[in-house]
Symmetry: C2
Subunit: 325 residues, 2 copies
C-alpha cells in the first residue's frame, strides 16, 4: 500500500497514521484461537485500500486533530467494513476477495459467519473512545442501512421491474455511500469541527460514495486482469448495475432484457449482455453519472477550510474515480 | 410468555417492563422493507423467554432502578441474542427455531445473514443510553467471546481428542455463560450498585449460564415432543455435550467413541449413542454438574442485598435448572 496520499507538498502525509492503524489491526486479529487468527489475518491484510479510515483521518485532520485521537475510530471503521465484506462473500459465495481465498471457501461458512461477527464485536469495543459523541448511533444506523441495502439487493435480484433506476440509487446509497458519509462525519466530529463543516464533509463523503460505487459497477465490465475478478459478476447474480440500467434505458432491446432476467446464465449469455451494454452506450452514460457525483463531492468541499487535508480529500476523489486510490 | 416471575409476594413483578420491552422490539422490527420486517418479526416474536433482558432488569432492580432507565439495555441484550441465534441457525442449517421456520429456510441464507447483522446494528444504537458506563466494551467483549466459542465448536467438531472435558467447560463459558454474566453485570452497573455487588451478580450470571447450557445439553436427550427439536442434534453435528463426555469418562466403550466421531450418522447411529449415554450414567453425572453450578450461582447471590429482586433471581435459577423459566 502506498502510504502517502500524494507527493504534492500541499497534501498531508498519512504515513504514520497508516502504520499505527496496521499495528492495531494486527493486534485485533490475535484472537487466541489460531485458526480464527489465521482467517482474520488473511482477509484483513489482503491489500485493502483503507479508504474508510483514511477518509475519517483526513476529515479529522482538517481541524488539526492528532492521529492518536482518531486511531480507535479508524480501526473501528476498517473492522466494520471488513466484517461486511466477509459476510457479503458468504452471501455471494465468492471464491476470492482481493485475490486471496475467502474464509468460507478456505474454512467453511460457519467460520466465515463467526469471523465477521467477531470483527463486529471488536469494532464495538472501540466505541468507548468517543463517549461524548454520537459515534455509536451513527455506526449503528449505518450498519442497519447497509444490511437493508444488501437485503434489498438479494430480494430484487433478477427482476428488472423491482430494480428501476431510482431504486438503484437508493440501494447504492445504502450499500456504499452512507458508509463513506459516516466516515467523513465521525472523522469531522472527532476532529471537533463545527456542525456546518461536519455536514459539508458528510455531503462530500455521500457523493464520493455514490461515485465510488458507480466506478465499481464500471469495473465489472473491465477485463479480469485489471480487477482480479471475473467480469459480469453483477449480471450473473441478477444485480442490475448502472451501466446495464442505462443501456436498458437508452436502447431497450426486449431480447437483452429477458436475457438479463434469466437465472442461470451461461458465460456466453454474460458476454452477450456485456457487449450489449457497451454497444448501447451504457458505460458512457454511467461514467457521466460518476463524474456528476464526483463534481458534487468536490463542490461540497469548497466550503470546508482550505489546507493540505482538504487538498488530500480533493485528490482522493479524483483518484477514486480513476480507480487509483 | 408468563410475565410475572412468580406469585410469591416476595418476588418482583416483571410485567410492565416486559410490556415495554415487547413494544420496543416491535418498533425495532419495523425496517421499512416489508420482507425484512416480516423475517425479523417471525424470529423476534417466536416465544423467546427474554431471559437476558429479565436478568439485567432484575439486577438493576436490586438497586431500585426504574424500568425506563434499563429498557434500552434490555432491548440491546435481546437483539444481540437474537442476532446470534439467526446466525447460528445458518451455521447449523437448522430448519426450525422455537417451532417456526428459520429465516434462511424461509428466505435464504443471504436474508438470514443480513437480518442478523441488522439486529447487531440496531443493538449498537442502544449503547448511547449508557455513555458513562462500559456497556459497549462489555458487549463488544462478549460478542467476540461468543464468536470464538462458536468457532471453536465448529473447528473441533467430530474429534473427541479436540474436545476434552476442560475444553467443553471453556467452550460453554464462551458460548453461553459469559452472556448471562454480562447481562447481570451491565444490569448491576445501570442499577448503580457498588462494584462488589456487580461482581457477585456477575458471578451469579456466569454460574447460572453454565448450569443453563448443561440443562440445554440434557434436553438434547429428551423426546422431541418436549423441546420441539429432534433429539441428538449435538451428536449428529459432532458436538460432544456434557452427558456424552461424562458417559465417555464413566464407561469408555471404543465402539461408541468411534461411532460418535463418525461424520454422517444415520438415525440408528444417533439412537445407539443416546442409549449409550443414558445407560452409562452420563445424564445423571451431567445433572450433578448442573446442580453444582446452580448452587454456586445461588451462593453468589447470598451476599447481594436481600429483597424481592434477589428472591426473583433465586427463583429464576431454580426454575432454569428445571427448565421452566
Amino acid at each position: 500500500m502506498d502510504r502517502t496520499i500524494s507527493d504534492n507538498e500541499r497534501t498531508i502525509d498519512f504515513g504514520s497514521a497508516a502504520e499505527a492503524l496496521e499495528s492495531e489491526l494486527a493486534a485485533v486479529c490475535d484472537t487466541g484461537w489460531s485458526e480464527l487468527t489465521e482467517d482474520l489475518r488473511r482477509i484483513v491484510f489482503s491489500g485493502g485500500k483503507r479508504l474508510r479510515p483514511k477518509l475519517a483521518w483526513l476529515c479529522a485532520a482538517i481541524g488539526g486533530t492528532q492521529s492518536e485521537r482518531v486511531l480507535p475510530l479508524m480501526v473501528m471503521l476498517e473492522l466494520t467494513h471488513t466484517a461486511s465484506l466477509i459476510h457479503d462473500d458468504v452471501v455471494d459465495d465468492a471464491p476470492k476477495r482481493r485475490g486471496v481465498d475467502t474464509i468460507h471457501v478456505q474454512r467453511g461458512r460457519a467460520a466465515a459467519i463467526h469471523s465477521g461477527d467477531y470483527l463486529m464485536g471488536r469494532a464495538m469495543q472501540y466505541l468507548k473512545a468517543y463517549k461524548e459523541l454520537d459515534v455509536d448511533k451513527i455506526i449503528g444506523d449505518l450498519t442497519c442501512e447497509m444490511c437493508v441495502g444488501e437485503y434489498m439487493q438479494q430480494d430484487t435480484a433478477f427482476s428488472l421491474e423491482k430494480q428501476p433506476l431510482e431504486q438503484y440509487f437508493l440501494r447504492i446509497k445504502r450499500k456504499t455511500a452512507l458508509f463513506l458519509k459516516a466516515c467523513c462525519l465521525v472523522g469531522a466530529k472527532v476532529g471537533g469541527l463545527p456542525e456546518q463543516t461536519q455536514e459539508q464533509l458528510g455531503e462530500y463523503g455521500l457523493n464520493l460514495g455514490m461515485a465510488f460505487q458507480i466506478c465499481d459497477d464500471l469495473l465489472d465490465y473491465s477485463s479480469a486482469r485489471k480487477t482480479g475478478k471475473k467480469g459480469g459478476q453483477d449480471l450473473r447474480c441478477g444485480v442490475f448495475n448502472l451501466p446495464f440500467l442505462c443501456a436498458a434505458q437508452l436502447s431497450p432491446e426486449p431480447e437483452m432484457l429477458a436475457l438479463a432476467e434469466k437465472r442461470r446464465k451461461t458465460n456466453r449469455d454474460v458476454e452477450r449482455l456485456i457487449r450489449y451494454v457497451k454497444s448501447s452506450g451504457g458505460l458512457d452514460r454511467a461514467k457521466e453519472y460518476a463524474e456528476d457525483y464526483t463534481e458534487k463531492a468536490l463542490s461540497a468541499l469548497k466550503q470546508v477550510p482550505d489546507g493540505p487535508a482538504r487538498k488530500s480529500l480533493e485528490n482522493l476523489a479524483a483518484a477514486l474515480v480513476r480507480r487509483e486510490a
